[in-house]
């Protein structure tokens, strides 16, 4: 289990630098939590893409 506070701080710093949503990065890291390297959940890329599209939709909605 990653150190939540440490990860949260790093995510905030780095996502700002790359102009991406820290919430999206956080949601993506949360999706990976509890899954071990040997026992990966199927469909994870699909879930990650859904999160990405959700973020883009929300950005689009805000822009409109």
């Amino acid at each position: 289990m990653p150190d939540e506070k440490m990860l949260d701080r790093i995510v905030n710093e780095v996502s700002k630098k790359h102009d991406v949503s820290s919430d999206l990065v956080r949601k993506m890291t949360a999706l990976e939590q509890g899954k071990l390297h040997l026992e990966r959940r199927r469909g994870i890329t699909r879930d990650l893409r859904a999160l990405l599209q959700e973020e883009l939709d929300s950005k689009k909605a805000k822009a409109e």
Binding site: M1, D3, L7, K17, L48
Partner: protein, 658 residues
């Protein structure tokens, strides 16, 4: 605290016949120690094994658990062939109960396991179906080696290189794989998005041109990657070789020190032998003179008698001389019948009186004179006695003190002789080693390693350049989407995704670095408090593969194998404590024979460090591990204690709460 054991229940497990329970109370800050006291063979290790067994991943082979029977032999004799271990624990505030049950069947002398079942209840809900997976998420099997361990085996973590499995387990505790997995999964997603884009653009000429260019770079990329991998393997092999050669060179250099040490130890041994010889002589002398010491009052009395006699004898002798002179004078006067002074004749009557007087004077050889020793004999005797008495007075040495000094010197000589034997053995090992040849090879390998390193860097730069070009080409390809009707959304998505990917790469790298820094800081804090070489050791360096090096104040790195067994244990414990402190999900520490080879100072340092850990600590200890006075010193940190009582006639251990 993330995981806290509340209760362990055993049924027919090894030495525990029937049902046996250990109930642990709640912990508080600074009060996290539980001590299970037991003599050797009373069942401490069986308890450790029970905890390891119940938390194990059943699919993983294990020499101990899959080996000899885990069933209590008494129970087997009575036909009870079912054993179980159950642990109730809290995990992130949830109440969990895990039970592992094994049923066996007896065929002749042999006991065969029929089935093994695992049951898991979380907050009253039956989670048995996914028990293995859930348990692995709570406390992964690979991580258990850092939680439940034997103090005598702990030094395994203070070795030059960790195995791949150990490295992975450490990363797991630090939560690195979960973050790294995201990067890998995004790479997969990147492939899917590129494929989607390529399907859209497939019939465009510009796309085909860019794609051809991209394919050339892809070939370059794979060439660079292949060559980098080769160079990396070479570099790793050379690194191992250089480390080994450095170790040999240091060993040979140390031999010169050893020779000096041997010479000084041999000199010391010879001095000690000489001192011992003198002490033995002295002891012999003291033994032979012991009778004289006992006779001292008699000898002293005899001396005084002689002294007294001597003073009397002086006057007797003086009288004898006088008498002799008088007799001589009277004899001459009588013989000559004439006065010796005036030479006048002496009358007969006077002569008669003189004759009578002559006979009254005692002659030499009779009377008083006969009763005294001859003066020379007496004087000689007095001189001898005086010398003996003075000698006895001068002997201030205490025979007991001489004996103790002899024992001390004998022990020291034995130690020095052992050191000499060890040094000779070590020197014999390298008797045929050629120091200059080792240094020549080392130097050549270091040059080779530097060359391979340069080549590695050059290839890495080439790969980076190629990656940049590929990245640019990818961007150009994506930009083509904008010009393709109806696919602007996909272009935006890919563009955003690229930024996201770069962001995640950086997050992963930074996270790994900070996790390493955190564990290094924690382990150093523990190490500084526990080590008994605070003046000599500066810090502990945590290497890329999580192996450890002690760095001296002079800046030299000491490889773990050059540390003593006790120091390795301190280093390994500091590492485990550091991991525990750096973990967001610390597991309880269950330590059997917790202080292995540690000396008293190290043991006390370690005991002082345990209450600072953020987890429950269960010590399975003998009376030697925690003597009563030490236990009292840490009483405020102890939550509870148990005592194991082995009933030898029944091959059975019971547990009492103290």
């Amino acid at each position: 605290m993330s995981i806290e054991i509340k209760e362990i229940a055993l049924h027919n497990w090894l030495v525990y016949r029937g049902d046996v329970k250990l109930q642990f109370g709640s912990l508080e800050v600074g009060r996290n120690l539980w001590i299970v006291h037991g003599l050797n063979g009373s069942g401490k290790t069986s308890l450790l094994r029970a905890i390891q067994w119940v938390f194990r991943n059943g699919r993983q082979a294990d020499r101990f658990f899959d080996g000899p029977s885990l069933h209590n032999r008494d129970a087997v004799r009575t036909g009870d062939l079912m054993l179980s271990v159950s642990a109730r624990f809290s995990h992130r505030g949830r109440d969990c109960v895990i039970t592992r049950i094994q049923t066996a069947v007896q065929r002749g002398e042999k006991l065969t396991v029929l089935r093994e079942d695992l049951r898991l209840i979380i907050d009253g809900r039956d989670e048995t179906e996914a028990a293995d997976e859930k348990l692995a998420n709570i406390l992964p099997w690979d991580c258990q080696q850092f939680a439940f361990f034997d103090g005598l085996e702990i030094q395994a973590y203070a070795q030059r290189q960790h195995s791949k499995e150990t490295r992975e387990a450490i990363e797991l505790i630090l939560g690195i794989p979960e973050v790294r997995n995201l990067r890998d999964d995004l790479n997969k997603l990147s492939y899917e998005l590129s494929k989607e884009r390529d399907d859209v653009l497939a019939d465009k000429d510009v796309y085909q041109k860019l794609l051809a260019e991209k394919e050339t770079y892809e070939i370059d990329k794979s060439t660079w990657e292949k060559r980098i991998k080769e160079q990396q393997e070479k570099l790793n092999a050379l690194e191992l070789m250089v480390v080994e050669l450095r170790r040999q060179a240091a060993e040979l250099e140390q031999n010169e020190e050893r020779i000096k040490d041997l010479q000084s130890k041999e000199k010391l041994a010879s001095e000690l032998s000489e001192t011992l010889k003198n002490l033995k002589d002295k002891q012999q002398r003291l033994t032979t003179r012991a009778a004289l010491h006992l006779l001292r009052p008699i000898l002293s009395m005899r001396y005084h008698v002689l002294e007294d006699e001597d003073s009397k004898a002086v006057s007797v002798e003086h009288r004898n001389v006088e008498n002799a002179a008088r007799r001589a004078l009277l004899e001459k006067t009588i013989d000559e019948a004439r006065c010796a002074l005036c030479e006048q004749e002496i009358s007969r009557a006077v002569l008669s009186r003189l004759e009578a007087k002559f006979h009254r004077i005692p002659a030499a050889g009779d009377g008083v004179v006969e009763q005294v020793l001859p003066s020379s004999h007496r004087r000689n005797l007095m001189v001898d006695l005086s010398r003996i008495l003075k000698g006895l007075d001068d002997e201030t040495e205490d025979p007991k003190g001489v004996h103790l000094l002899r024992l001390e010197k004998e022990q020291r000589l034995e130690e020095v002789e052992q050191d000499i034997a060890k040094l000779k053995d070590m020197l014999r090992e390298h008797a045929h080693a050629d120091i200059s040849s080792v240094f020549r090879t080392l130097s050549a390998k270091e040059v080779e390693k530097a060359d391979v390193g340069h080549e590695f860097d050059r290839l890495q730069n080439q790969l980076n350049d190629t990656n940049k070009k590929l990245f640019q080409l990818d961007k150009d390809l994506t930009r083509l989407l904008a010009e393709t009707e109806g696919h602007a959304e996909l272009e935006k998505e890919i563009e955003y995704f690229h930024r996201l990917q770069e962001c995640i790469d950086e997050v992963v790298e930074q996270f790994i670095q900070e996790r390493r820094a955190a564990i290094e800081a924690h382990l150093n804090r523990v190490f500084r408090n526990v080590t008994n070489k605070k003046e000599e050791y500066e810090r502990v360096a945590l290497l890329e593969d999580f192996s450890l090096r002690v760095v001296t104040k002079a800046g030299n790195q000491i490889e773990p194998e050059r540390l003593s067994a006790g120091e390795k244990e301190v280093l390994a414990f500091s590492f485990i404590a550091g991991l525990n402190l750096a973990s967001d999900n610390p597991a309880p520490l269950v330590m059997d024979t917790p202080f292995g080879h540690l000396d008293v100072q190290h043991r006390n340092g370690l005991l002082a460090a345990l209450p600072t850990l953020p987890s429950q600590v269960i010590l399975l200890a003998t009376d030697r591990d925690i003597p009563e006075e030490e236990r009292r010193r840490f009483e405020r940190n102890i939550v509870g204690e148990f005592e194991l009582d082995r009933i030898q006639t029944e091959e059975r251990t019971t547990i009492h709460t103290i």
